[in-house]
């Protein structure tokens, strides 16, 4: 059980680096959606007895993070005619190295934390920290609005991983509420991206910081 969990979280950590290193928007979106699907399966593995609510939440998470949100992002991309190339503020190699350093620091730092014995053996905490850090780098280092949204989603995946630590004490309803919020957020972002594109002819956030008539 623990090995499968660690394998899935390890996959998510690898996808973090893939998202940092790829220069094209569709591959970042794909990395994010596969990560969401991998993490969506985790509640099934972590719960000891399978409640129908757990199964339902896992299925909804996989569907929303793996299919609905990427589809919304792709549609926004198509509608706004965004070029596929990502423009980085921080180059790909430095951001990849930063992400790797963050992952290593997360793995090393998680050992210093006081965890419950059942969580100490898993990669839950390092995976969460690494994903949050990766999301942060993507948010800060990329100029395109859509890749920033991807960074935000990877960050949300990290927070979701942290939430799994408390799976026994918080109702899954809270998690599904967050999921709903995120979906609506992406939906609204998709619309806004289209509007910004129409109004300003660009989605480059560098230009959006300048106010003009």
């Amino acid at each position: 059980m623990n090995t499968t969990v660690n394998l899935l979280i390890g996959l998510a950590m690898g996808l973090n680096l893939l998202a940092l290193g790829s220069s094209r928007l569709p591959s970042i979106i794909r990395a994010m959606s596969v990560q969401g699907m991998a993490l969506g399966l985790l509640p099934l593995l972590l719960e000891h007895e399978l409640d129908w609510r757990v199964v339902a939440v896992a299925l909804v998470t996989v569907a929303v993070k793996g299919f609905v949100i990427p589809q919304l992002l792709r549609r926004a991309m198509r509608a706004a005619n965004i070029e596929r190339e990502v423009e980085p503020f921080i180059g790909f190699v430095p951001s990849l190295l930063l992400g790797a350093a963050g992952t290593v620091a997360a793995v090393a730092g998680a050992r210093a934390l006081l965890l419950l014995p059942e969580h100490a053996g898993t990669l839950l905490v390092p995976g969460a920290l690494a994903s949050i850090f990766t999301g942060l780098i993507l948010l800060v280092a990329r100029a395109k609005a859509i890749s920033q949204v991807c960074g935000y989603l990877i960050m949300e995946n990290g927070i979701y991983l942290f939430g799994l630590l408390l799976i026994h004490s918080t109702p899954l309803l809270v998690e599904s509420g967050i999921l709903l919020d995120v979906t609506v957020g992406i939906f609204v972002t998709g619309i806004i991206v289209d509007r910004i594109q129409r109004a300003f002819d660009s989605l480059d956030t560098r230009k959006l910081t300048v106010l003009r008539e």
Partner: protein, 302 residues
């Protein structure tokens, strides 16, 4: 006496088998593209032909122009003697021989670049500069990979490092070393060995002015290097020591074949990367080896 005979036999095996690999790669490429392709033994014919030809020397070139390929060839063959072959062990083995292996690769590269610079041609200087700047990153990845093997087994002897069963990091290490193999041997995502277009060449441009036996030495040395990396990669991933000798030899041969066919497939299915994308790929290889190192260090920390 027996020991000397064994060394000679091993040497002959390395020297004779090495030119087979580029032939197999070309055959795979031709097969994927639906062509007939050159015969598998083409490099042997080329080498034989080159060996009988004369040498054209620039009046500017110092003896280093001839010495470069020769020293590089000797260094690579020396590296081949250091590398163990499954349970048969290596011809020469001592504590810390892995360092010598890394440095022999470096000497070979230095000599090729030096001979390229000897011609005084700006074009060849550019090739040497490209080769060396890729090597900086590829070497970091190679050393990290070797370090992870060393940490895993607690030894600095190649025979011991490559014989023990590998841990969880084997997949990462294999991926990292494969990328290093492609970069070090100037294969497709990094360099296109078939083009003669000046914008893309790296290794080819360095040997443009060589002719006759020195060129044969360069080509044969490149084939030996490819075989070396293929054997190193196979042994780093597969634990061969527990197997009976014959089975181990067959497994090693099959693994080298798989690596070679893999190189051929990569060459046919991928396009050559732009120069600015290459450091990214090599950094990824470095990170893969680094994560393998971390896994080895923490004793399968997953």
């Amino acid at each position: 006496m027996i020991a000397i005979l064994e060394i000679i036999l091993r040497l002959a095996l390395w020297l004779v088998l090495a030119p087979l690999l580029p032939g197999i790669i070309n055959k795979v490429k031709a097969w994927v593209a639906g062509r007939k392709g050159p015969p598998v033994l083409q490099l042997y014919y080329d080498l034989a032909r080159l060996w009988q030809k004369g040498v054209v020397l620039s009046t500017l070139a110092s003896p280093g122009f001839i010495a470069g390929p020769a020293v590089a060839w000797v260094a690579l063959v020396g590296a081949a003697l250091l590398l163990p072959l499954g349970p048969a062990g290596s011809a020469l083995s001592f504590r810390g021989d892995v360092l010598l292996l890394v440095y022999l690769f470096a000497v070979a590269r230095f000599c090729t670049a030096w001979a390229a610079l000897e011609t005084g041609s700006a074009f060849e200087g550019m090739g040497a500069a490209r080769e060396v700047s890729y090597a900086v990153l590829a070497e970091a990845a190679l050393i990290t990979g070797i370090l992870s093997l060393s940490v895993q087994t607690g030894s600095v002897t190649l025979a011991a490092m490559l014989s023990q069963p590998v841990g969880a990091g084997a997949v990462l290490l294999a991926a990292g070393l494969f990328a290093v193999l492609l970069a070090e041997n100037c294969r497709v995502p990094f360099d296109d060995p078939n083009t003669h277009l000046e914008l893309t060449m790296i290794h080819e441009v360095m040997v443009l002015d060589h002719s006759g036996p020195p060129l044969a030495a360069v080509l044969h040395g490149a084939a030996v290097k490819l075989l070396l990396f293929a054997v190193l990669l196979s042994q780093a991933v597969l634990p061969l020591n527990g197997l009976p000798p014959l089975l181990a030899a067959v497994t090693l041969g099959a693994a080298v074949l798989v690596v070679t066919v893999g190189v051929g497939l990569v060459e046919s299915l991928l396009a050559r990367f732009a120069f600015r994308r290459v450091p990214l790929l090599l950094t990824t290889a470095f990170l893969l080896c680094l994560f393998a190192l971390l896994l080895a260090w923490k004793g399968g920390a997953t």
